[in-house]
Structure formats: C-alpha cells, structure tokens
Symmetry: C2
Subunit: 138 residues, 2 copies
C-alpha cells in the first residue's frame, strides 16, 4: 500500500484509482488547482467525478477549498496540522496577478483582528495579490 493510499484511508476515503491519481496530481503541482485544471489533465474522466472527488477530499480534511478572488474555486492538499476541517486553518493565500497561480503560504497565519462590539468571528480568509516569486524573478 502506497503512502497516498494510506493517507486517503486515514481520512476515511476509499483509495480508488481515480482518487489516487488526483491526489498525486495535486501533490505534484505546487499550486492550488481548479476543477478545470484537473479536467484537462484527466480528460478521460468525467467532470462530475472530479468535482465530487474534490468535495470528498474537502469534507474529509484531505484538501481545502481556496477562494482567491478570481471567482474560481481552487483546491490544495492540506499539510499535516492543517485545521481546515474545523474552519480554523488561518494560513493565507497568495494569488499572482501575472501567472494567475495561487499558493498557500502555510507559514503565514492570519493575524488576529479586533472586531467591533457585537461581531463574533468564526473564520477568516486572507488573500494577498501581487507578483509571485517565480514571476518576479523573470
């Protein structure tokens, strides 16, 4: 049994061939992936299967959905210690306006925000936009 299969089973997700492939794809890409990215990479499979795979990953804490402000949902694998299941993983995301790629900056947590009286914070999403390391060095 491979590492990936173990990871999936540890999250109560049955390691089907498709799921293993998608997991591998996401692990190799170092940026967040959109459904359409996976679609073009796995043209033999159906969009709904890929969609449901992402949802399954999300529900089981294998990946988290990222809203980077482009209007397109992207997904990235959770790293160990990611608390996104509890809606409490407050790392920030960086979206490059040049290459349109989005990365997790897991080391950078969202700072605590003092809200006005009466407001209760449950979760937060911080997306910094600009030029990523790859694009700025060209």
């Amino acid at each position: 049994m491979t590492e990936i299969e173990k990871t999936l089973e540890a999250h109560q997700v049955r390691p089907t061939a498709m799921r293993i492939l998608i997991y591998k794809y996401m692990a190799e890409k170092e940026v967040a992936v959109a459904l359409t990215d996976i679609e073009s990479a796995f043209s033999k499979s159906d969009r709904s299967t890929l969609y449901r795979t992402l949802k399954t990953f999300e529900e089981n804490g294998i990946a988290h959905q990222i809203d980077d402000g482009t209007g397109i949902s992207k997904y990235a694998l959770c790293e160990s210690g990611c608390n996104c299941e509890l809606d409490q993983d407050l790392h920030l995301h960086f979206h490059c306006s040049n290459c349109d790629e989005t990365v997790c900056l897991t080391a950078h947590k969202i700072p605590h925000i003092n809200l006005p009286y009466g407001y209760l914070a449950e979760n937060a999403n911080l997306v910094v936009k600009g030029i990523c390391e790859k694009c700025s060095s060209e």
Copy 2:
C-alpha cells in the same frame, strides 16, 4: 443639483436617472449589495444596465466590488478617502454566516503582512466570517 449628482459628476459619471436611483439604493442599504438585490429592487430595468452601472461605479471609484467568499460579487459605495481605485484600500469585510449580509469595516485596516522573499504584494483581501452585530443580539 443634488449631492448624489455632484458625487457622480465628480467621478466623471453622467448622472442619469437610473444611476442616481442605484446610488441612492446603495447608500440607503448599509450592507454590500449583489446584482440580484438591485435586480429585484428595480425590476423595471434590465439586468445588463444594472450590471454595467455597477461596473461603471467600480471603474470610476464610486463603489468597490467585494468578494465575500459566497461566490456572488457584491458592491458597496466607497467612503471618502477610499483608495480602492488604486487597489490599495485595505479595509476588511465581514460576512455574516447567519443573515448572509456583508459589511465594510472601513475602520479596520488589513495589517501589514511579511511575505516570503520574492513575493511582491499589490493588494489584499480579508474577509472575516461569523455572526454580525445584528444577529448576535437576537
């Protein structure tokens, strides 16, 4: 000439009847509005007109678009001193998971974030989700 007309003209936007109405509508609502909200409020007008009005407001620094993570674009009027035209107005937004309303917390600016080497920040978007003042007091 009314205040609203003056405001529109100050931003190089011709104060048509429709635009004045939409501006008034947004000013009265204290929360960010979606295109569909305006649609139901002005059923006599066409969606594309309303859509283009919002875009015009946005392009001319009268309103700014808000991505609150619901997947639906919302808009709010800029306050005086809003720098959203320069993509540099870093106030945060609060989205209530109970009433689904989104408000600008203009007094709360996004704290400065130290990015890894090579990353250049141009803009940032911070949305805090939770329970708003109105809903928490019920």
